[in-house]
């Protein structure tokens, strides 16, 4: 961990906010992708997948 001096709280809070938002964006994107994919596969199995 580098010595951030008197701006430690400033630097760490900026990085924490950014990383949390990025992780949330990636996590939500992957979660929704998996959910929709499963739902589509289930629907295609149910309807025979024609069309």
């Amino acid at each position: 961990m580098p010595d951030l001096g008197k701006y430690e709280a400033t630097v760490l809070s900026a990085w924490a906010v950014a990383l949390v938002l990025l992780a949330g964006l990636v996590g939500l994107s992957l979660w929704r992708a998996a959910r929709v994919r499963r739902a589509l596969e289930a629907q295609e199995r149910k309807g025979g997948g024609n069309g």
Binding site: P2, Y7, A18, L25, A33
Partner: protein
């Protein structure tokens, strides 16, 4: 082969499925080293102390926030002119990514501004146009969600995207239009007097590359999800009619 073949959802799914693992791997291979280099291996700056480390998240997120809207503008124009559904869905997929990038830029800028400028916020031309861009992102996402007919939603959101482009353009060039405000000029510039020192520039370029590749990866993932969701809705609607 014409580029418009990729507007076919089936062709897009095949091609994007092949590109996606490479895009994800490349984004990880640029983003992680860029951020680690910037945070752990760069020295403090004379004027800004250790707060200089915030540029490795602030500048790339702001860059992507503006250019995500530019990508949405191109996709919206393709929808309005050629009526390719994949382009409308790609614009829709990019909006939440751009919105989060705008939010990161606003938050990190405010956190940096408090010790450096003595205030979290100022009605500076660039900051204000960036806030308006964020509101446009919110409005764009809400409009897609509010309209049931997908073609009508694509039409209206495309028009909103054209209007919002003014603010995306302003947030990029506001510091040049108005010689006032707190926000400094570009960190990476051909003007050597304005350009940050190389010791900061190289990890910054790597972080920007990482953010751009992450944006590309997320847009591919989310566009594929939108295409699947559209097909799912069609299948469910057909089942109800039978």
């Amino acid at each position: 082969m014409s580029i418009w073949e990729y507007a076919n959802p089936k062709k897009f799914m095949e091609t994007s499925g092949r590109i996606l693992p490479w895009a994800a791997a490349l984004s990880a291979l640029t983003l992680v080293p860029g951020l680690v280099w910037g945070f752990f291996l760069t020295p403090d700056a004379d004027r800004f102390g250790s707060t200089v480390k915030i540029i490795y998240i602030h500048v790339p997120s702001a860059f992507v926030a503006i250019n995500a809207w530019a990508m949405m503008l191109v996709a919206s124009l393709i929808w309005l002119i050629r009526r390719h559904h994949v382009s409308a869905l790609a614009a829709r997929a990019a909006a939440p990514v751009g919105m989060v990038m705008t939010l990161i830029a606003l938050f990190t800028g405010a956190i940096w501004g408090e010790p450096m400028w003595g205030t979290w916020w100022a009605w500076d031309p660039r900051l204000t146009s960036f806030l308006i861009l964020f509101l446009f992102y919110l409005g764009y996402i809400a409009l897609w969600a509010a309209i049931e007919n997908p073609d009508a939603a694509a039409d209206l959101t495309s028009v909103l995207c054209l209007v919002g482009s003014v603010f995306a353009f302003l947030s990029r060039y506001a510091v040049y239009f108005w010689a006032q405000g707190l926000h400094q000029g570009a960190s990476l510039s051909v003007d050597r007097a304005q350009h940050v020192a190389d010791v900061y520039a190289w990890p910054l370029w790597l972080s920007i590359a990482g953010f751009v590749l992450l944006f590309l990866t997320l847009v591919l993932v989310r566009t594929r999800t939108e295409i699947r969701a559209r097909r799912l809705s069609a299948l469910v609607a057909r089942e109800r009619m039978e």
